[in-house]
Symmetry: C2
Subunit: 228 residues, 2 copies
Protein backbone atom coordinates (compact mmCIF):
# COMPACT_ATOMS: atom_id res chain seq x y z
CA UNK A 1 0.00 0.00 0.00
CA UNK A 2 1.29 3.46 -0.87
CA UNK A 3 2.18 5.74 2.04
CA UNK A 4 -0.54 8.23 2.94
CA UNK A 5 0.22 11.87 2.44
CA UNK A 6 0.35 14.16 5.45
CA UNK A 7 0.94 17.89 5.79
CA UNK A 8 3.30 18.80 8.64
CA UNK A 9 3.54 22.37 9.95
CA UNK A 10 7.25 23.04 10.30
CA UNK A 11 8.49 26.10 12.20
CA UNK A 12 12.15 25.17 12.47
CA UNK A 13 11.90 24.70 16.23
CA UNK A 14 12.37 21.70 18.46
CA UNK A 15 8.70 20.74 18.62
CA UNK A 16 7.80 20.75 14.95
CA UNK A 17 11.02 18.93 13.99
CA UNK A 18 10.04 16.19 16.43
CA UNK A 19 6.54 16.05 14.95
CA UNK A 20 7.95 15.65 11.45
CA UNK A 21 10.11 12.75 12.66
CA UNK A 22 7.08 11.17 14.40
CA UNK A 23 4.82 11.53 11.36
CA UNK A 24 7.42 9.93 9.13
CA UNK A 25 7.98 7.16 11.70
CA UNK A 26 4.22 6.52 11.63
CA UNK A 27 4.53 5.82 7.90
CA UNK A 28 3.28 9.06 6.37
CA UNK A 29 4.72 10.67 3.27
CA UNK A 30 5.34 14.11 4.74
CA UNK A 31 4.74 17.42 2.98
CA UNK A 32 6.19 20.13 5.17
CA UNK A 33 4.82 23.67 5.14
CA UNK A 34 6.53 26.70 6.70
CA UNK A 35 5.47 30.31 7.05
CA UNK A 36 7.46 33.43 6.40
CA UNK A 37 5.24 35.80 8.37
CA UNK A 38 7.73 38.56 9.04
CA UNK A 39 8.99 36.94 12.24
CA UNK A 40 12.05 38.42 13.94
CA UNK A 41 13.77 35.09 14.17
CA UNK A 42 14.43 34.68 10.45
CA UNK A 43 16.99 31.94 11.08
CA UNK A 44 14.17 29.51 11.77
CA UNK A 45 13.28 29.63 8.07
CA UNK A 46 16.70 28.36 7.01
CA UNK A 47 16.42 25.76 9.76
CA UNK A 48 13.11 24.60 8.22
CA UNK A 49 14.68 23.82 4.87
CA UNK A 50 17.53 21.88 6.46
CA UNK A 51 15.22 19.93 8.80
CA UNK A 52 12.79 19.07 5.98
CA UNK A 53 15.74 17.66 4.05
CA UNK A 54 17.42 15.68 6.83
CA UNK A 55 14.16 14.27 8.20
CA UNK A 56 13.04 13.06 4.79
CA UNK A 57 10.10 15.28 3.92
CA UNK A 58 8.80 14.49 0.41
CA UNK A 59 8.22 18.17 -0.24
CA UNK A 60 8.57 21.50 1.52
CA UNK A 61 6.58 24.66 0.75
CA UNK A 62 7.15 28.07 2.20
CA UNK A 63 4.24 30.51 2.21
CA UNK A 64 4.87 34.22 2.64
CA UNK A 65 2.28 36.28 4.46
CA UNK A 66 2.52 39.72 5.97
CA UNK A 67 1.24 39.33 9.50
CA UNK A 68 2.98 42.61 10.31
CA UNK A 69 0.09 44.31 8.45
CA UNK A 70 -2.17 43.52 11.40
CA UNK A 71 0.51 43.96 14.12
CA UNK A 72 -0.02 43.16 17.77
CA UNK A 73 2.91 40.86 18.58
CA UNK A 74 6.50 41.18 19.70
CA UNK A 75 7.35 38.60 17.03
CA UNK A 76 6.18 40.73 14.11
CA UNK A 77 6.39 44.30 15.47
CA UNK A 78 9.93 45.56 16.01
CA UNK A 79 8.64 48.21 18.44
CA UNK A 80 7.49 45.54 20.96
CA UNK A 81 10.42 43.97 22.86
CA UNK A 82 10.74 40.22 23.46
CA UNK A 83 10.59 39.66 27.27
CA UNK A 84 13.80 38.32 28.80
CA UNK A 85 12.30 37.40 32.17
CA UNK A 86 9.21 35.27 32.92
CA UNK A 87 5.83 37.05 32.45
CA UNK A 88 2.27 36.34 33.64
CA UNK A 89 -0.71 35.52 31.41
CA UNK A 90 -0.62 35.48 27.62
CA UNK A 91 2.85 36.69 26.55
CA UNK A 92 3.43 39.57 24.13
CA UNK A 93 5.11 37.05 21.84
CA UNK A 94 1.65 35.62 21.18
CA UNK A 95 0.83 36.27 17.51
CA UNK A 96 -2.93 36.90 17.19
CA UNK A 97 -4.69 33.91 15.64
CA UNK A 98 -1.40 32.51 14.37
CA UNK A 99 -2.19 28.82 14.64
CA UNK A 100 -5.63 29.41 13.10
CA UNK A 101 -3.99 31.13 10.13
CA UNK A 102 -1.26 28.48 9.80
CA UNK A 103 -3.67 25.55 10.11
CA UNK A 104 -5.95 27.18 7.53
CA UNK A 105 -3.08 27.46 5.05
CA UNK A 106 -1.96 23.90 5.82
CA UNK A 107 -5.56 22.79 5.23
CA UNK A 108 -5.58 24.45 1.83
CA UNK A 109 -2.31 22.71 0.94
CA UNK A 110 -3.66 19.37 2.19
CA UNK A 111 -6.72 19.80 0.01
CA UNK A 112 -4.56 20.51 -3.05
CA UNK A 113 -2.36 17.43 -2.61
CA UNK A 114 -5.13 15.12 -1.41
CA UNK A 115 -3.85 14.65 2.16
CA UNK A 116 -6.32 14.02 5.00
CA UNK A 117 -3.84 14.22 7.87
CA UNK A 118 -2.31 17.39 9.28
CA UNK A 119 0.35 17.41 12.00
CA UNK A 120 1.05 20.34 14.31
CA UNK A 121 3.53 20.56 17.17
CA UNK A 122 1.47 22.30 19.86
CA UNK A 123 2.27 21.02 23.34
CA UNK A 124 1.37 21.04 27.02
CA UNK A 125 4.05 23.55 27.98
CA UNK A 126 2.98 26.08 25.36
CA UNK A 127 -0.75 25.96 25.83
CA UNK A 128 -0.52 27.34 29.34
CA UNK A 129 0.21 30.68 27.68
CA UNK A 130 -1.04 30.57 24.09
CA UNK A 131 -4.78 29.95 23.66
CA UNK A 132 -4.37 28.43 20.21
CA UNK A 133 -2.22 25.58 21.52
CA UNK A 134 -4.98 24.01 23.61
CA UNK A 135 -6.50 20.63 22.66
CA UNK A 136 -10.03 22.09 22.55
CA UNK A 137 -8.87 24.58 19.93
CA UNK A 138 -7.39 21.79 17.83
CA UNK A 139 -10.65 19.79 17.97
CA UNK A 140 -12.72 22.86 17.00
CA UNK A 141 -10.42 23.57 14.07
CA UNK A 142 -10.77 19.96 12.91
CA UNK A 143 -14.57 20.34 12.86
CA UNK A 144 -14.24 23.60 10.93
CA UNK A 145 -11.82 22.00 8.46
CA UNK A 146 -14.32 19.30 7.59
CA UNK A 147 -17.01 21.89 6.88
CA UNK A 148 -14.67 24.25 5.01
CA UNK A 149 -13.54 21.93 2.26
CA UNK A 150 -14.50 19.66 -0.58
CA UNK A 151 -14.16 16.73 1.84
CA UNK A 152 -17.13 18.03 3.81
CA UNK A 153 -19.26 18.44 0.69
CA UNK A 154 -18.23 15.45 -1.36
CA UNK A 155 -17.90 12.89 1.44
CA UNK A 156 -14.20 12.22 0.95
CA UNK A 157 -12.09 11.06 3.88
CA UNK A 158 -12.34 13.67 6.62
CA UNK A 159 -9.42 15.72 7.83
CA UNK A 160 -7.71 14.79 11.05
CA UNK A 161 -5.53 17.26 12.93
CA UNK A 162 -2.82 15.39 14.83
CA UNK A 163 -1.16 17.11 17.78
CA UNK A 164 1.05 14.29 19.03
CA UNK A 165 3.00 16.47 21.47
CA UNK A 166 -0.12 17.76 23.15
CA UNK A 167 0.29 15.72 26.33
CA UNK A 168 4.09 15.51 26.40
CA UNK A 169 6.52 17.50 28.53
CA UNK A 170 9.46 19.17 26.79
CA UNK A 171 11.73 16.45 28.21
CA UNK A 172 9.47 13.71 26.80
CA UNK A 173 9.48 15.43 23.40
CA UNK A 174 13.26 15.59 23.39
CA UNK A 175 13.64 11.93 24.35
CA UNK A 176 11.21 10.91 21.60
CA UNK A 177 13.01 13.04 19.01
CA UNK A 178 16.44 11.72 19.96
CA UNK A 179 15.14 8.15 19.56
CA UNK A 180 14.02 9.13 16.04
CA UNK A 181 17.35 10.74 15.15
CA UNK A 182 16.44 14.44 15.31
CA UNK A 183 19.54 16.64 15.43
CA UNK A 184 18.40 19.39 17.80
CA UNK A 185 21.51 21.45 17.21
CA UNK A 186 19.94 22.35 13.83
CA UNK A 187 16.57 23.47 15.24
CA UNK A 188 15.94 27.10 16.20
CA UNK A 189 13.50 27.85 19.03
CA UNK A 190 14.79 31.26 20.18
CA UNK A 191 12.51 34.27 19.58
CA UNK A 192 15.53 36.45 18.91
CA UNK A 193 17.97 34.03 17.28
CA UNK A 194 20.76 35.70 15.33
CA UNK A 195 21.30 35.28 11.60
CA UNK A 196 23.23 32.05 12.18
CA UNK A 197 20.44 30.60 14.30
CA UNK A 198 22.28 31.03 17.60
CA UNK A 199 20.00 31.42 20.63
CA UNK A 200 19.80 34.31 23.12
CA UNK A 201 19.38 31.95 26.08
CA UNK A 202 17.08 34.32 27.98
CA UNK A 203 13.68 34.50 26.21
CA UNK A 204 10.73 32.28 27.26
CA UNK A 205 11.34 29.90 24.40
CA UNK A 206 15.03 29.48 25.27
CA UNK A 207 14.22 28.86 28.93
CA UNK A 208 11.59 26.19 28.15
CA UNK A 209 14.00 24.49 25.79
CA UNK A 210 17.00 24.52 28.16
CA UNK A 211 14.81 23.20 31.00
CA UNK A 212 13.70 20.39 28.67
CA UNK A 213 17.23 19.19 28.00
CA UNK A 214 18.06 19.43 31.71
CA UNK A 215 14.99 17.39 32.69
CA UNK A 216 15.63 14.86 29.94
CA UNK A 217 19.14 14.42 31.35
CA UNK A 218 20.83 14.91 27.99
CA UNK A 219 23.41 17.49 26.90
CA UNK A 220 21.88 20.69 25.46
CA UNK A 221 23.15 20.92 21.86
CA UNK A 222 21.75 24.44 21.34
CA UNK A 223 24.15 26.90 19.73
CA UNK A 224 24.10 30.01 21.93
CA UNK A 225 25.20 33.54 21.05
CA UNK A 226 28.52 34.55 22.60
CA UNK A 227 27.82 36.59 25.75
CA UNK A 228 29.06 40.17 26.05
CA UNK B 1 -21.89 55.35 23.70
CA UNK B 2 -18.92 54.95 21.38
CA UNK B 3 -19.47 52.91 18.24
CA UNK B 4 -18.29 49.30 18.51
CA UNK B 5 -15.43 48.26 16.30
CA UNK B 6 -16.04 45.62 13.66
CA UNK B 7 -13.75 43.97 11.14
CA UNK B 8 -15.26 43.66 7.65
CA UNK B 9 -13.75 41.34 5.04
CA UNK B 10 -13.67 43.38 1.85
CA UNK B 11 -12.98 41.71 -1.49
CA UNK B 12 -13.93 44.56 -3.79
CA UNK B 13 -16.96 42.67 -5.09
CA UNK B 14 -20.67 43.36 -4.90
CA UNK B 15 -21.32 41.23 -1.82
CA UNK B 16 -18.63 42.51 0.51
CA UNK B 17 -19.29 46.15 -0.43
CA UNK B 18 -22.92 45.59 0.57
CA UNK B 19 -21.83 44.01 3.84
CA UNK B 20 -19.64 47.02 4.64
CA UNK B 21 -22.59 49.35 4.03
CA UNK B 22 -24.81 47.14 6.22
CA UNK B 23 -22.30 46.98 9.09
CA UNK B 24 -21.88 50.73 9.04
CA UNK B 25 -25.66 51.19 8.89
CA UNK B 26 -25.92 48.97 11.99
CA UNK B 27 -23.72 51.47 13.82
CA UNK B 28 -20.34 49.76 13.73
CA UNK B 29 -17.04 51.54 13.29
CA UNK B 30 -15.75 49.45 10.39
CA UNK B 31 -12.16 48.28 9.93
CA UNK B 32 -11.93 46.77 6.47
CA UNK B 33 -9.40 44.06 5.64
CA UNK B 34 -8.51 42.90 2.13
CA UNK B 35 -6.25 40.18 0.86
CA UNK B 36 -3.69 40.30 -1.89
CA UNK B 37 -3.38 36.56 -2.42
CA UNK B 38 -2.05 36.50 -5.93
CA UNK B 39 -5.53 36.57 -7.47
CA UNK B 40 -5.85 37.03 -11.23
CA UNK B 41 -8.37 39.79 -10.85
CA UNK B 42 -6.00 42.38 -9.41
CA UNK B 43 -8.44 45.19 -10.16
CA UNK B 44 -10.51 44.12 -7.17
CA UNK B 45 -7.73 45.37 -4.90
CA UNK B 46 -7.96 48.93 -6.23
CA UNK B 47 -11.74 48.61 -5.95
CA UNK B 48 -11.31 47.72 -2.24
CA UNK B 49 -9.48 50.93 -1.44
CA UNK B 50 -12.07 53.04 -3.23
CA UNK B 51 -15.02 51.23 -1.62
CA UNK B 52 -13.50 51.45 1.88
CA UNK B 53 -13.19 55.19 1.37
CA UNK B 54 -16.60 55.92 -0.11
CA UNK B 55 -18.46 53.67 2.35
CA UNK B 56 -16.79 55.29 5.35
CA UNK B 57 -14.53 52.56 6.73
CA UNK B 58 -12.49 53.89 9.68
CA UNK B 59 -9.46 51.96 8.50
CA UNK B 60 -8.45 49.60 5.69
CA UNK B 61 -5.65 47.06 5.85
CA UNK B 62 -4.34 44.97 3.01
CA UNK B 63 -2.56 41.72 3.87
CA UNK B 64 -0.34 40.05 1.28
CA UNK B 65 -0.14 36.28 1.27
CA UNK B 66 1.16 33.95 -1.37
CA UNK B 67 -1.62 31.43 -1.88
CA UNK B 68 0.01 30.55 -5.19
CA UNK B 69 2.63 28.65 -3.13
CA UNK B 70 0.03 25.96 -2.46
CA UNK B 71 -1.72 26.18 -5.85
CA UNK B 72 -4.90 24.33 -6.73
CA UNK B 73 -7.16 27.09 -8.05
CA UNK B 74 -7.91 28.82 -11.32
CA UNK B 75 -7.79 32.10 -9.40
CA UNK B 76 -4.16 31.73 -8.29
CA UNK B 77 -2.70 29.37 -10.90
CA UNK B 78 -2.35 30.90 -14.38
CA UNK B 79 -2.23 27.40 -15.92
CA UNK B 80 -5.84 26.66 -14.87
CA UNK B 81 -8.41 28.48 -17.03
CA UNK B 82 -11.45 30.28 -15.60
CA UNK B 83 -14.57 28.50 -16.96
CA UNK B 84 -16.72 30.59 -19.28
CA UNK B 85 -19.74 28.28 -19.25
CA UNK B 86 -21.64 26.83 -16.25
CA UNK B 87 -19.95 23.85 -14.53
CA UNK B 88 -21.16 21.12 -12.13
CA UNK B 89 -20.02 20.66 -8.51
CA UNK B 90 -17.32 22.72 -6.82
CA UNK B 91 -15.84 25.02 -9.48
CA UNK B 92 -12.10 25.22 -10.29
CA UNK B 93 -12.26 28.84 -9.17
CA UNK B 94 -12.65 27.52 -5.59
CA UNK B 95 -9.50 28.52 -3.68
CA UNK B 96 -8.70 25.79 -1.14
CA UNK B 97 -9.58 26.87 2.40
CA UNK B 98 -9.76 30.51 1.32
CA UNK B 99 -12.46 31.70 3.69
CA UNK B 100 -10.82 29.82 6.58
CA UNK B 101 -7.55 31.64 5.85
CA UNK B 102 -9.24 35.03 5.40
CA UNK B 103 -11.40 34.69 8.52
CA UNK B 104 -8.32 33.62 10.51
CA UNK B 105 -6.45 36.75 9.43
CA UNK B 106 -9.50 38.91 10.12
CA UNK B 107 -9.72 37.30 13.55
CA UNK B 108 -6.11 38.21 14.30
CA UNK B 109 -6.78 41.79 13.22
CA UNK B 110 -9.94 41.90 15.37
CA UNK B 111 -7.96 40.69 18.34
CA UNK B 112 -5.35 43.41 17.82
CA UNK B 113 -7.87 46.26 17.62
CA UNK B 114 -10.24 44.90 20.25
CA UNK B 115 -13.18 44.18 17.94
CA UNK B 116 -15.57 41.32 18.75
CA UNK B 117 -17.58 41.45 15.54
CA UNK B 118 -16.49 40.17 12.14
CA UNK B 119 -18.53 40.58 8.97
CA UNK B 120 -18.19 38.38 5.89
CA UNK B 121 -20.19 38.49 2.67
CA UNK B 122 -20.85 34.82 2.05
CA UNK B 123 -24.27 34.19 0.55
CA UNK B 124 -26.86 31.66 -0.47
CA UNK B 125 -25.96 31.77 -4.14
CA UNK B 126 -22.27 31.13 -3.55
CA UNK B 127 -22.52 28.35 -1.03
CA UNK B 128 -24.16 26.04 -3.49
CA UNK B 129 -20.67 25.66 -4.96
CA UNK B 130 -18.11 26.72 -2.36
CA UNK B 131 -18.09 24.66 0.86
CA UNK B 132 -16.67 27.50 2.93
CA UNK B 133 -19.66 29.75 2.24
CA UNK B 134 -22.16 27.54 4.10
CA UNK B 135 -23.75 28.71 7.38
CA UNK B 136 -22.52 25.60 9.23
CA UNK B 137 -18.95 26.49 8.29
CA UNK B 138 -19.42 30.03 9.63
CA UNK B 139 -20.79 28.69 12.95
CA UNK B 140 -17.90 26.23 13.30
CA UNK B 141 -15.38 28.96 12.61
CA UNK B 142 -17.02 31.14 15.27
CA UNK B 143 -16.57 28.36 17.84
CA UNK B 144 -12.95 27.93 16.79
CA UNK B 145 -12.35 31.68 17.02
CA UNK B 146 -13.49 31.77 20.61
CA UNK B 147 -11.10 28.98 21.55
CA UNK B 148 -8.20 30.35 19.50
CA UNK B 149 -7.86 33.73 21.14
CA UNK B 150 -7.34 35.69 24.33
CA UNK B 151 -11.12 36.15 24.49
CA UNK B 152 -11.53 32.42 25.04
CA UNK B 153 -8.91 32.35 27.79
CA UNK B 154 -9.55 35.61 29.55
CA UNK B 155 -13.34 35.70 29.38
CA UNK B 156 -13.61 38.86 27.27
CA UNK B 157 -16.58 39.38 24.98
CA UNK B 158 -16.75 36.50 22.54
CA UNK B 159 -16.31 36.86 18.81
CA UNK B 160 -19.34 36.85 16.58
CA UNK B 161 -19.09 36.12 12.87
CA UNK B 162 -21.85 37.94 11.02
CA UNK B 163 -22.84 36.69 7.58
CA UNK B 164 -25.78 39.00 6.86
CA UNK B 165 -26.10 37.97 3.19
CA UNK B 166 -26.31 34.31 4.02
CA UNK B 167 -30.02 33.96 3.33
CA UNK B 168 -30.36 36.65 0.66
CA UNK B 169 -30.61 36.21 -3.10
CA UNK B 170 -28.33 38.30 -5.30
CA UNK B 171 -31.31 40.51 -6.20
CA UNK B 172 -32.09 41.07 -2.49
CA UNK B 173 -28.45 41.96 -1.83
CA UNK B 174 -28.48 44.49 -4.66
CA UNK B 175 -31.73 46.11 -3.46
CA UNK B 176 -30.36 46.38 0.09
CA UNK B 177 -27.08 47.89 -1.14
CA UNK B 178 -28.81 50.44 -3.37
CA UNK B 179 -30.91 51.54 -0.39
CA UNK B 180 -27.67 52.11 1.51
CA UNK B 181 -26.03 54.04 -1.32
CA UNK B 182 -23.58 51.46 -2.64
CA UNK B 183 -22.25 52.43 -6.07
CA UNK B 184 -22.02 49.03 -7.74
CA UNK B 185 -20.28 50.43 -10.80
CA UNK B 186 -17.16 50.64 -8.60
CA UNK B 187 -17.28 47.03 -7.39
CA UNK B 188 -15.43 44.27 -9.24
CA UNK B 189 -16.88 40.75 -9.16
CA UNK B 190 -15.41 39.31 -12.37
CA UNK B 191 -12.79 36.54 -12.02
CA UNK B 192 -10.92 37.87 -15.02
CA UNK B 193 -11.50 41.60 -14.78
CA UNK B 194 -9.05 43.69 -16.78
CA UNK B 195 -6.66 46.21 -15.24
CA UNK B 196 -9.37 48.86 -15.22
CA UNK B 197 -11.81 46.58 -13.42
CA UNK B 198 -13.95 45.92 -16.49
CA UNK B 199 -15.80 42.60 -16.42
CA UNK B 200 -15.60 39.70 -18.93
CA UNK B 201 -19.35 39.07 -18.73
CA UNK B 202 -19.02 35.30 -19.17
CA UNK B 203 -17.48 33.79 -16.01
CA UNK B 204 -19.65 32.32 -13.20
CA UNK B 205 -19.25 35.42 -11.11
CA UNK B 206 -20.31 37.73 -13.96
CA UNK B 207 -23.35 35.58 -14.73
CA UNK B 208 -24.54 35.54 -11.09
CA UNK B 209 -24.10 39.28 -10.87
CA UNK B 210 -25.89 40.08 -14.14
CA UNK B 211 -28.77 37.77 -13.16
CA UNK B 212 -29.00 39.63 -9.84
CA UNK B 213 -29.47 43.02 -11.48
CA UNK B 214 -32.00 41.54 -13.89
CA UNK B 215 -34.02 39.94 -11.06
CA UNK B 216 -33.81 43.11 -8.97
CA UNK B 217 -35.25 44.99 -11.94
CA UNK B 218 -32.56 47.67 -11.87
CA UNK B 219 -30.07 48.68 -14.57
CA UNK B 220 -26.77 46.78 -14.45
CA UNK B 221 -24.05 49.42 -13.84
CA UNK B 222 -21.21 46.94 -14.41
CA UNK B 223 -18.45 48.20 -16.69
CA UNK B 224 -17.86 45.46 -19.26
CA UNK B 225 -14.85 44.87 -21.48
CA UNK B 226 -15.39 45.83 -25.12
CA UNK B 227 -16.20 42.70 -27.12
CA UNK B 228 -13.92 41.67 -29.94
Amino acid sequence: MAARNAVVLLSGGLDSATVLAMARDAGYRCHAISFDYGQRHRAELSACSEIAGTLGAADHRRVRLELGAIGGSALTDPSIAVPETPTQGIPVTYVPARNTVFLALALGYAEVIGASDLFIGVNAVDYSGYPDCRPEFIRAFETTANLATRAGVEGESPFRIHAPLSELSKADIIRRGLDLGVDYSRTVSCYQADAEGRACGVCDSCRLRADGFREAGVPDPTRYQPTG
